[in-house]
Symmetry: C3
Subunit: 424 residues, 3 copies
């Protein structure tokens, strides 16, 4: 069997396997009534995942078709896989109940793969990306849900905007995979890859479509699974953080780009860093000025990353990061986790009223008590503020370690695979 | 009067006539209170109709302006006409009450014309398209509402996503019109038309904007007029069917395209076939795996259509289908109707609970009975499951026949009309 | 300090100042619970402001980066400033409460600056635009809120779609600033500026993305802050007015463009004029045919403006209007105000039922009376219909005068400022 036929066989095999697994396991969640708020939030996230990420990566003039097409194909196949993976941890009578919320979580899970794809664009074949995505989704769900159910750890950390579990995870997984792949390439192959990485006027404008839709709908990404006060705060915080990171990214781009120009890569990416940086503390009492400060920090950090850190990593660690994912998702994701730890450390009940236990459920007392404000019993682990902060940091460290180890192994195991299809 | 002046006169005459008819007939529907869910669904459909269809057809590098501009103009003038046409069948005190729901239905009706336009793009002038659209909307409304009110047939068949009444109707109407128009063209005119039908890198990326927005918002198209459980199922089924058709279309494109490339036409169109194929059974208990299977079938069928069936039709029937509408709307629409008949044939009350009579109102008993679950009296025609299945097939046949006959006559009557305005 | 360093310093200074002011003044509005309807309306407006305006201006092939990039940067920095400016007129315990509604109002305020930017694109530097924007937002808020709170004038006029306060204001502010700037330019500088103002096939298609998203989401812009019946009417009126202005703009473009072509500038801009023209009377009983008539008028007026009035203004008044803002926002805005005055003059209680006092609160009787339909006391100024019409005209005149005077002064004060950064 030729490589050509084998590759097509793998593509079809994956889709048919998903179909069979759906046949065995997935059923409508009869308990869910059509709830519209989550559906409209979902649509915003859907635009981000299928349009935003794809067009954002289209800035490379040689990879316009590939970035948009691969993004489309990968996301379409992996949302199905993500529904299965998540479902396996939430079986009910050996069946996976599916609802609009499942679609939201599938889209968010797939975002982590698309982030990793940003590192690897142009360095891998489509088949490699698909196999990587299948592994990454499974690991992502394990990291998120095994940690939650078994270690009683993760659900009880705050990361409403998925900055730790999606952005940080996806970035370091991709970077580790890129590191692994580069071990097996000859030097001049890498050089020729890089020579394809230039943009032109038109490709940069297409990328701006992605950037601006991501920017616009990010508040929905960070607040879709929240409700009430929490959701309200998350929307405002994300909006302000994004506005500040956009303005600051422009200013820093002006400082660091010679000849009184702006660098389109900064405009396309660093303007979004505030959305990542606010993600883990998006529903906390960071206050509007706190959201703006964090956005400014993230915007500046991201531009500095593009100018100094990415070239340094490329030169010294031989990790090639095609779209500069480390500057948009990696460092701002780590920043998000650190900020969430600081805010967790200073969170008091008087500041949040009863909302404190919504954001940090583990801080509720171990003895179940009836709370008059929310008219239900609440029970937690009786964590102190400092303990909660420690757990936030622990989640960050675990996520980065899991991402790097599994990303590296995925890259290694992927190295011999090859897929010939492309749009080029 | 020169042709030039006559054409402009027709354009203005149509708009002024619509204005006068609105003056006589259309009034706000005072009974409707602003209901927001339908408005947000409407906005998604609005994006599909005005942006999605227009950009999808922009893949032809010579027809970028025409596809987007004509789509915009046609849709703007015809939504007004569609409100009138629908209203004439629902007069209340000789007035047409207008509400947000009227806007939704107008947008959906216009979609059928834009589908037909996809067949004819590059073969007709703008004036021909407008006259065709005016006739097509009227026929569409007759097919839909006369059939419903007089034959007591249509409202009682299930087609929530309008796969039969919009997609199938629009495709076969356009194909019949194209057949009629080609009777009156000289062979070398047709050849020169076709030589304009090539895409380039940029036009293909613009088309992807259309594709992806259609793909993203399709669940709203298929579920806008449903509610509760039905709507919930429709969203999930459409999402899964689209994901599966996207993945399968890529795989089949890889199989059928030489040189280990994907064909952008497949990526732009066949990825959407799942949305059409699920449309007539979108709220039925097809189960998640059923939706995926149907999406896979539609994706494969559509790619095969582009590769084998469209060239065959062109060569043997002399029907030129510029955008391959038969593969995205025609065959998947017929598939949708067949699947809905099969599901109707096996639908039981125990499976759907009381929801059965929401989906198939004609299956309710002829004697009105008070239903405790929905707290209202229900009454139907006492159809059996097999009878309902028969009606689904009958609706398909009637729609195809009406579309072909009226499309052909429209094409014939249009042949002498000519309009000089273009963007080229 | 070189110009280069000074300019960057100003950029950062503005963002840091905003941060400090947020620190002192802005806090979450605890009384606001997450209300979702306004959030989804907000998202539509967000698309218009950040994507729509930016891409609409991208039709100039030399200013693609600048129009999208500057639009993004300006809007991001000015939404923060607009929250502050609006808040200073609504301090509560010396703090500015922030909610999703604040974000809506910030986006709408910023739209006025982006309209002015349309006049000045290519004639100014980014720093000039930012300084202009900071002044314009402050003046806009003064015009809107000082008028409201102190003169008891403005809130009591009807302008739900902000045609007077945003569109007319932004257009005449920009035109006056352009007039002022042109005083200080040498003739051949202006000529060379203009030579950059041409479009090409690709840039025109990018602009259509902006046009179509503006067109699609305009009903949300005109109805976001309304509710119930009012909102319902506003959606329908805007939809119909836009459809009619689109169709009429195409027809008039065909009349006035030689060689049986359409002019893309008309297609991109005049198709939207109906959205502006309906803005001030959007929730009034203008009836569907009235909305269509107004849209037709606006579409025709706008095309005529592009063909005859803009060149005349350029030649005789030496005001250069790069994007033809006068034809899309200026004249249709004035038309909107005049129509709102006419409708106010003929509004009767029997026509609107209790809704009359929602639209024209000043027309309610001066003695508070309990209204059974809305279950609350209503109290107004006892204005007659003709008085209300007079106030509508007065608001228009005040807005135009304030816009021209402050726009001219801003242009004068801006003339020596210079900023070197660009994308060119």
């Amino acid at each position: 069997m030729s490589d050509h036929r084998r590759d097509v066989f793998v593509l079809l095999f994956v889709q048919v396997t998903i179909f069979i697994l759906f046949g065995y396991f997935v059923r409508y969640d009869e308990s869910q009534k059509g709830e519209n708020t989550i559906y409209f939030m979902f649509q915003d996230i859907h635009v981000m995942v299928f349009l935003g990420f794809g067009f954002l990566m289209a800035f490379l003039k040689k990879y316009g078709y590939s970035s948009i097409g691969f993004n489309f194909f990968l996301a379409a196949i992996l949302v199905q896989w993500a529904i299965l993976c998540r479902g396996f941890f939430h079986l009910s009578n050996l069946k996976i109940p599916i609802s609009v919320e499942s679609l939201v979580e599938a889209d968010i899970a797939v975002a982590s793969v698309l982030i990793s794809m940003g590192v690897l664009l142009g360095q891998t074949t489509l088949l490699q990306l698909i196999i990587m995505g299948i592994i990454e989704i499974a690991v992502y769900q394990c990291n998120f849900y095994v940690g939650d159910e078994i270690l009683k750890l993760y659900l009880k950390i705050a990361d409403a905007g998925a900055s730790i579990f999606v952005h940080t995870f996806g970035a370091y997984f991709g970077l580790a995979a890129s590191f692994a792949l580069s071990r097996f390439k000859r030097k001049n192959d890498i050089e020729s890859d890089k020579s394809l990485e230039s943009s032109n006027y038109t490709s940069d404008l297409f990328a701006m479509i992605g950037t601006i839709f991501l920017w616009i709908y990010w508040p929905s990404f960070n607040s879709a699974e929240l409700s009430g006060d929490d959701q309200h705060r998350a929307i405002i915080n994300t909006y302000l953080s994004l506005a500040a990171s956009c303005a600051t990214a422009f200013a820093f781009s002006a400082i660091l780009t010679p000849d009184t120009k702006f660098d389109m890569v900064h405009v396309q990416n660093s303007t979004l860093a505030g959305g990542v940086a606010i993600g883990a503390s998006v529903n906390m009492m960071i206050q509007p000025y706190g959201a703006i400060f964090l956005g400014m920090l993230a915007g500046a950090l991201s531009v500095i990353g593009y100018n100094y850190i990415t070239p340094w990593i490329d030169r010294n660690l031989h990790i090639h990061d095609t779209c500069g994912v480390h500057n948009l998702h990696g460092m701002p994701g780590v920043l998000a986790a650190l900020v969430s730890a600081i805010l967790a450390a200073i969170a008091t009940e008087s500041q949040y009223h009863t909302g404190l236990y919504d954001i940090f459920p583990a801080r509720a007392p171990t003895i179940p008590s009836f709370n008059q404000d929310v008219y239900r019993h609440i029970q937690g682990d009786g964590r102190t503020a400092m303990q909660q902060a420690g757990y936030q940091i622990l989640a960050l460290i675990m996520t980065v370690v899991v991402a790097i180890v599994t990303g590296f192994l995925t890259g290694i195991s992927n190295k011999t695979l090859c897929f010939h299809y492309s749009f080029l």
